[in-house]
């Protein structure tokens, strides 16, 4: 072997092969390590449309496997008629709880909002302890945390105390940093374009 600044082409090819071999070894080791069976904490956040509809997809896919889903709706009114009707076809596998009377952003009745959030969180904890569920969805809990209607430390402790194999999906824009930190999978929905900007009104079956 020689030690030169300008190696011949054969050495270049050998070095490339060696580099690729090492890369593959690293990749193989990663795959081998990824063997832990664990319930995931998933987050749908970001300013874009589709977080709720994507959660519907996750729920129905899980139900498609014949696995049971618990669904706690922390904010009333953000689920469209079409989404609710679709859920009805899976009423045997998806337990849907709409909590409280909805939030009172307009009336500023903070005590009522805190009470509703607290009730929803109790139901969520019951579901997370129930071995029948494969997935529990906490829809719009990020909003509730953002407004301080629930304490993020309490929620994190509750998520941490869930059954080891239970998957949990939390949704809502402005997810707290503590939730992102605790999560296994975070999907950020970015709206690159929105039709409202182009002069098109909201339409049934697509926007509401």
């Amino acid at each position: 072997m020689t030690d030169t600044d300008s190696p011949p082409p054969d050495d270049e090819a050998a070095r490339h092969r060696e580099k690729m071999r090492k890369r593959k070894a690293v990749q193989d080791a990663r795959v081998a390590q990824a063997t832990q069976e664990k319930g995931l904490l998933m987050v749908h956040t970001g300013p874009g449309k589709g977080k709720t509809t994507a959660a519907l997809g996750v729920m129905l896919r899980t139900a498609g496997y014949g696995l049971r889903v618990g669904f706690v709706q922390f904010v009333k009114g953000n689920w469209a008629t079409g989404e609710q009707e679709a859920l009805k076809r899976f009423a045997d596998l998806i337990d849907h709880r709409v909590m409280g009377e909805g939030f009172t952003w307009d009336t500023q009745d903070r005590d009522r909002d805190v009470a509703a959030a607290t009730r929803a969180w109790i139901v969520a904890q019951e579901m997370m302890a129930d071995p029948r569920y494969h997935l529990v969805v906490l829809d719009e809990i990020n909003i509730v945390l953002r407004y301080g209607y629930l304490d993020v430390a309490d929620v994190l402790a509750g998520l941490d105390a869930r059954r080891p194999n239970l998957h949990v999906l939390v949704t809502g824009r402005n997810a707290k940093a503590e939730i992102i930190e605790a999560a296994d999978l975070v999907t950020e929905f970015q709206a690159v374009k929105h039709p409202f900007q182009a002069g098109i009104k909201a339409q049934r079956g697509i926007d509401f």
Copy 2:
């Protein structure tokens, strides 16, 4: 009225009110303009997980309204069992066409891939011309365009020629710039975290 450099507080307040009034007028005019009933071209793209599952949610929400959906799967194999089983409960409203034998990324049989993509595109065009459909989903067509198996100008012309009230959703990472440009709504899926990085293997009902 006086003309001074330092107007009294009353003038400040009046100017603020006038500024707010103008802003509101602009906003009202925007809302008034947003009255166009138009079939939207929607795009799910980006490197994050969930584009396909979110498309499932959009389809099932539309079906939840009792509206008919056409679904052309351009790449065989990316729909999980759970997603397919969920679709079956909506077989009365969602027409699902899996086109070709799947793509041959491994065998590099380009002619076969082009033929499969072309057949899928013919089915897509038939669906886009069929007045029974409220929504047509072209799943993974972005991949097909990225590989050059279909011509982007042909696809844009076909999308443009669709019935005016038909909504179309195209999915797949690396959406072509021409598709983004033509779209009314683009949602970019960003993976902030992925469980594979944390040593957790893919799990039924969540990852596949």
